[in-house]
Symmetry: C2
Subunit: 302 residues, 2 copies
């Protein structure tokens, strides 16, 4: 794996040219079957997918939500504009203050508190059939007041970038567009879009070393590449938005990852209902209801 430093990317820049140039400058070059992992943010920058918050007029709806959430109405307007639906408002600052979210494990200083006070609520939104916090809006590494938003079709962006690199160099490379998502322990980079690498290795039920069908074995290859690349994007400090992964053996795939979900967001409610019913049948109604009753009780007293 090689991390590439790029100059500041601006709207209209040709990303393929910047990447190929950086790879040559680094003495790495581009070879057939390389996987190029690209931070989603520089795709947004090059495509001009940027909002300037001071140019935004918030709607009445945005003002209403912002007032109650403790957020800037112009920021909320952008979140609403980029989402299909807002499904929840998570009181981050309160959860941290009450110790329910242990931010002591994430903090690097007092700035972190100021940041939480500026964004005390995280809006959970649905966008292009996926779940996003704050619609994927991101102000990090942008000038103050500027937010980037992710492309609507990141697989298509990956494919276009692969083809542009092929035109420049004659080499056929896979492309993964990576972004950061938050999990229970912190953040891990995942693939937002991909082209070339198979998004998921469909190994469920494949025989194991003893010939028994294997439960599992459905590696998200594209996500693992994004996570691996993050080790260099972060370790080398800022300004490493591209990582070249060389020597990985994979079957070429034209399928992208962005619509690749085992579970559809719209089906989550039905899955939850089926699971609660089955739990009541298997563990008994009382045990299944215990947590529901606990929730109801907490709701009443807190």
């Amino acid at each position: 794996m090689f991390g590439l430093k790029l100059p500041e990317v601006r709207p209209g820049d040709n990303l393929a040219e910047l990447i190929v140039g950086a790879a040559e400058d680094a003495g790495v070059g581009v070879r057939d079957r390389d996987v190029i992992v690209v931070a989603s943010k520089i795709v947004s920058k090059a495509r001009g997918l940027l909002y300037r918050v001071d140019r935004v007029s918030p709607s009445r709806e945005a003002c209403k939500v912002a007032g109650k959430a403790g957020l800037d109405p112009r920021f909320v307007e952008l979140v609403l504009r980029e989402s299909d639906e807002v499904v929840a408002a998570v009181p981050m600052l309160r959860l941290v203050r009450e110790g329910l979210v242990r931010m002591d494990r994430l903090f690097s200083g007092e700035e972190a508190w100021r940041l939480l006070e500026e964004y005390p609520t995280m809006l959970v939104t649905v966008r292009n059939g996926g779940v996003w916090s704050d619609s994927g809006l991101d102000s990090s590494n942008h000038p103050p007041g500027t937010f980037s938003y992710p492309p609507r079709n990141p697989d298509e962006e990956a494919r276009k970038l692969s083809e542009a690199i092929r035109e420049l160099t004659g080499r056929r490379v896979a492309v993964v567009i990576s972004d950061t998502e938050i999990f229970l322990r912190g953040s891990i980079d995942v693939a937002r879009g991909s082209y070339g690498v198979p998004p998921v290795d469909r190994g469920f039920g494949r025989p194991d070393r003893y010939g028994k069908p294997k439960y599992g074995g459905v590696d998200c290859v594209a996500d693992e590449l994004a996570a691996a690349a993050a080790l260099l994007m972060k370790q080398t400090g800022e300004g490493v938005p591209v990582v070249v992964v060389r020597g990985l053996s994979y079957d070429w795939s034209d399928e992208g990852i962005s619509q690749y979900r085992i579970v559809d967001v719209g089906d989550l409610a039905r899955i939850l209902v089926a699971t609660v019913k089955h739990t009541a049948r298997v563990l008994g109604v009382f045990r299944a209801l215990k947590n529901v009753l606990k929730l109801a009780f907490m709701f009443l007293v807190s």
Copy 2:
């Protein structure tokens, strides 16, 4: 990164010796500050953390749960034994049949259906304060009827392995114990235990390129190493349970990852209640209740 092939690991084997031997045979060796990623399963094998299902007498509770879940009572007995609490029974086979979980994206053949019919229900359990499917029991790459279970303190296993490798070679290496977890698109390897690498890069609130505090930046370094190693563990086929990661720059840390959660499982209910209340305040009671009402309706009619 280098993948190492190991002979079949047996209870009582000295893992450090096997790993150092394999690294030397591969011409890779062991160097200071290498990160050695080890599949959890071979730690279980070496420590003898194995159950033989035909030696298990199921309790009455296990028989009752098994009958209703469509599972082998002896398997359920093991799940109960290895868990602190069973919290849900997910009707996997039914969800797949109804198309709510799209297994067409995971299948590699008809064997997969047989596997689902053998395990139609997935039991979600709490174990050592974390959430596990089927208490982490795993039969893949074991002889028929044998299940491994994860060590109770995987950070300690990582530390011991690092120290044993140091005694053998004089080299100080970090160790990550990796295992597979299922996400919305398939599975990704994550760190179950770690020693040496900092589990999480506490970058929340650190200044970005423009000097603004950054929302995010809390990379789970240990998890990213596990995900990266999975690319070689799986790509090279079976029998690559160890990956040596060389050249990564990191600050040494004695802290392990296994108890490293932002959110405690026991606090989840309180977080949920706080979020539902805040959502009702921010988005209005009707919109917040819409999904709850939808759930209640589906529960009644399905």
